[in-house]
Subunit: 228 residues, 2 copies
DNA sequence: GCATATTTGTCCGTATGTATA
DNA sequence: CTATACATACGGACAAATATG
């Protein structure tokens, strides 16, 4: 009955030595979820995972609570904890939230005079990393670079809460990617959008950047909604 | 040594009967914090509160964890949990987040054609409730109505995640209000701002509404920063 | 600086209630 | 309907860290 990912989890026991046990358990589980080794809908048994990782149920529940708050897991009362399964409404809501966060971050960055220097360099770096990865055919890296691009856009707002909200939203979206047929190729066509958005920001044309970003959201949301 | 608010907590024991115990404990504690009965910096002893509420330490810790994720409590390793105390950086960050959320919600509402009908009525209702409360001298109600006004602005985006983010941000801000000298009078001068913002939204002049909202944020942020 | 008391961190065992085969 | 599996919640235990005198 024990699934194969439970054994994989067991291999992570060694890294659980230091710091907050619950936090480290959450790190391990988060990696499994965001990398698609734990698929949406999977039930996470307290006893099974606790035994695999060598931690008590109390500690494990602490980790579950962390990930539930990040919306990577869902907690159904008296039934257990499951890897979150997103529906089309979630996709719509996530993109509504992204439109507000990322467009707002660009505008906020503009009024703060922050669309230059280091914050802008982070955006450029993410664009270039993605382009290099695509040239090398490393689709996994393309996806990662795309995430970093949008995280860097959010960082233009210079707000810890915006950064955190962006992290959570992007982590949630990974759940949808893994549910798609061909998740590898999803980000590739948007690389040139990233380049164009970056150029607009760098040129100080932030309203054009916002418009390009909104067009990207429309396309990506439609594609994901169709895949669900 | 036992403080008076612990006895008040004890009076809430009766309401802990059904559903998730930890969730109910969190509800009770959240009400105490947001209503200022538990002031920022107060340490929450596991044993003391557990005894007052009649729940075990494990259950109480789960409730603490919930509220820590909402940023109402802070968890210092090996020292305990405390009612969160916000500094000027927190205020700055909270208002940066609010600027993005609320201005973004108005703009998103505009593109969705949502600045009319029921969503707009909720905004109007909050404005009028605040004005009536001010006329009656009920400053507590003025504060509540002001919160509802901004929550209603966020709701224009038609996004569950935006709604939730607004709730958390406003709950956090209450921590700052309670740390002020005269929290009662804080919201009153902004009632006419609310009215003006509402009129702009209702008239379809959403960019003017955004501008008025940004001016309000500047004023309120400066006032709170000065109070800290 | 040191010794003691208090409090938290973690884990275990168990009784009870709930969902599902 | 019964049986099984599991989550919920409690109470106790001990180590480790902190606060106090």
């Amino acid at each position: 009955m024990t699934a194969e990912w439970v054994e994989e989890l067991g291999a992570e026991r060694a890294s659980l030595g230091r710091a907050s046990t619950a936090g480290r358990v959450a790190d391990v589980l988060r990696a499994h979820v965001t990398q698609g080794r734990l698929l949406p809908g999977t039930r996470l048994s307290e006893e099974e995972i606790g035994a695999a990782l060598g931690v008590s149920r109390n500690t494990l529940r602490e980790a579950f609570r962390l990930l539930t708050h990040e919306r990577l897991l869902t907690h159904e009362f008296n039934r257990g904890v499951f890897v979150r399964r997103l529906d089309s409404d979630d996709v719509r809501d996530l993109y509504a939230f992204r439109r507000i966060l990322e467009c707002g971050a660009i505008r906020r960055g503009a009024t703060l005079g922050r669309l230059t220097g280091e914050p802008l360099d982070d955006v450029r770096r993410a664009v270039e990393t993605g382009e290099r990865a695509a040239a090398a055919g490393d689709w996994n890296e393309v996806g990662t670079a795309n995430m970093e691009f949008h995280q860097a856009l959010g960082a233009l707002a210079d707000s810890q809460r915006v950064d955190e909200a962006m992290s959570h939203v992007l982590a949630e979206l990974r759940l949808v990617f893994h549910a798609m047929a061909a998740p590898e190729a999803f980000h590739q066509p948007y690389l040139e959008d990233n380049r164009r958005i970056f150029e607009f920001v760098a040129a100080g044309s932030h309203e054009e950047a916002v418009a390009a970003l909104l067009a990207y959201f429309d396309a990506a949301e439609a594609q994901l909604a169709a895949a669900i």
